[in-house]
């Protein structure tokens, strides 16, 4: 009994996907898109100036301040909305950087093999077994604070993962028959990579970006929480959360809960999206058995 293949038509793939995955894609998509709108239009959406001090220190949530105010009287809701620029924006830069580097090195390594591959594999495997969060910490300290420095540190943490993914994908495609057929036709390497291997990357691109966004957000907020992220007064979720911690014993729970919820919702959005997309785009996973 052969299962009819359906190729790579997204609409068709989505149509035949199980309902749970569809729900995941839609819910995750809504979360992610909303947050991305915050990133782009944050300052226009925020009801108040996130840097504006006021007399109302440590006010609990109210109709004036939806999520209360902090110890300097700044509106927490506005700070968190604008903060998405930093928490998610940096993550986006990091994902982009790590993807470009991972794509380049991974496809070279996988396609050409040989000694380049061996050396790159050794380096990347070494980095891979080492906890990425620890070298992010060290790099952030060495490079100093700043948006680009943080993004660079985080992307380095992600490179080994992307490298391995792209490399194994390249190898599996390279071994496919139609690549050999291209060689017989007289096509050169660059042509083959461009027309026949690149499309394969597209099939994992969305899932990888989405997963990368989740891990990037986690890393930035973690760095921020440890006081190594973007320094105050810039409103970054992790930094806000760490700042709010000292007022917890005074009963100002909102300073901890709301930043945490923002991180949680972002993570949930990206994770739902990647999990759902993964099932939709790789129907074989659910055709096992």
């Amino acid at each position: 009994m052969s299962v009819q293949k359906i190729g790579f038509n997204f609409r068709e793939l989505f149509r035949v996907a199980p309902r749970s995955s569809k729900v995941m894609v839609v819910v995750g998509g809504i979360f992610s898109v909303t947050l991305l709108i915050f990133v782009v239009l944050g300052p226009y959406i925020a009801p108040r100036d996130p840097y504006q001090f006021s007399e109302n220190l440590l006010q609990p949530p109210s109709m004036n301040n939806y999520m209360g105010t902090d110890n300097l009287g700044r509106d927490l809701f506005s700070r968190l909305i604008v903060g998405s620029r930093y928490s998610l924006g940096i993550s986006m830069i990091a994902v982009g950087l790590s993807l470009i580097i991972g794509l380049f090195l991974g496809s070279m390594s996988g396609f050409f093999g040989g000694n380049i591959d061996r050396i790159l594999m050794l380096v990347m495997d070494s980095l891979y077994v080492f906890p990425d969060f620890i070298y992010m910490l060290v790099m952030v300290v060495v490079l100093g604070p700043g948006i680009w420095q943080t993004a660079l540190a985080i992307s380095v943490g992600r490179i080994p993962y992307n490298f391995r993914l792209i490399r194994s994908l390249t190898i599996s495609v390279k071994e496919r028959g139609f690549i050999e057929a291209e060689r017989v036709l007289g096509a050169d390497n660059w042509y083959i990579i461009r027309t026949h291997i690149m499309p394969y990357y597209m099939s994992i691109l969305f899932v990888t970006v989405s997963l990368g966004m989740a891990s990037g957000t986690l890393a930035i907020s973690g760095l921020g929480f440890l006081g190594l992220g973007i320094p105050p007064p810039t409103p970054e979720w992790g930094t806000e959360l760490a700042g709010g911690r000292s007022f917890l014993l005074g009963g100002s729970w909102w300073l901890v809960i709301f930043p945490g919820l923002f991180v949680l919702i972002a993570m949930l959005g990206f994770n739902l999206l990647s999990e759902g997309l993964d099932t939709v785009l790789n129907p074989s996973v659910r055709r096992l058995a």
């Binding site: 009994m1 052969s2 299962v3 009819q4 359906i6 035949v16 058995a289």
Partner: protein, 323 residues
Amino acid sequence: MSLLEVRNLKTYFFTPFGTVKAVDDVSFDVEKGQALGLAGESGCGKTTIAYSIMRLIPFTGKIVGGEIYLNGRDLVKLNEKELKLIRWKELSIVFQGAMASFNPIFKIGDQISEAIRYHENVTKEDVMKRTNDLLELVGIEHERANNYPWELSGGMRQRSMIAMALACNPTLLVADEPTTALDVIVSAQIMDLIKNLREKLDLTMLLITHDISVIAQTCDEMAVMYAGKLVEKTSVPEIFKNAYHPYTKALIKAFPNLKGPKQDLEGIPGNPLDLMNPPPGCRFAQRCPYVKETCLENDPVLTEVESDHFVACHFWKKILAER
């Protein structure tokens, strides 16, 4: 009463793209001590028949109608618990890809003796002895019992698979493409082995293959399937001499021969049918040289045209007259 009676079997698969009628109203019998060869192309539903008899249809598929009587008992009605008692003891199967059919982390001997241990109340020594005997029976030194499946060659693995299938002296042996994926010489040796075992053990067998010459050499009866339907069934000498159905006739002529004069062959035009949405009428109609309007509208019924010769074709009389 025949040993195996398949009556109006319908097994469908329900995929997100639609329903695949893999086996659509198929009936046949296998007498005790006989071997029936079931021939057909990939996707014609012959493997699904094997899996239906074993009640091993994967969860996307379902037997939606019909009965399968083994010794008068309807297998379709049995629950999992009752099936466990029947499987391997009365019904065993040789799978297509013997590589994947053995569990890679257990030794060959363990996997064979396991089948005996759970079905019969015998001592450890007896199990050991029987396992070794089985391996010797299929032409493998019994020391090989200590090998892992991946340490054996394809031919030896298929031999071990046959040994395992015979472990509990099954009433019916189903062999699903036992020689595909094997090299020419090895597959000839495996077919020899099956032929010898049949004579030695008086096996009742259902052999499923795409290669009708294998059936010609090993079976008593032959049934031909096309696109989920049985199109012809009779004894092997009869079908090779007096085939009625145009598809059977084309199949018999579809092999280049090695002996006799070199002759030009005629292929069957067209392509195999998509079982997702089969058109009404005879399923072979698009590729049939005898096609008339009625073929496109009415599904031909399997009729007994001579004694013990069943054909599903509207024009069997015309074909008979042409002979």
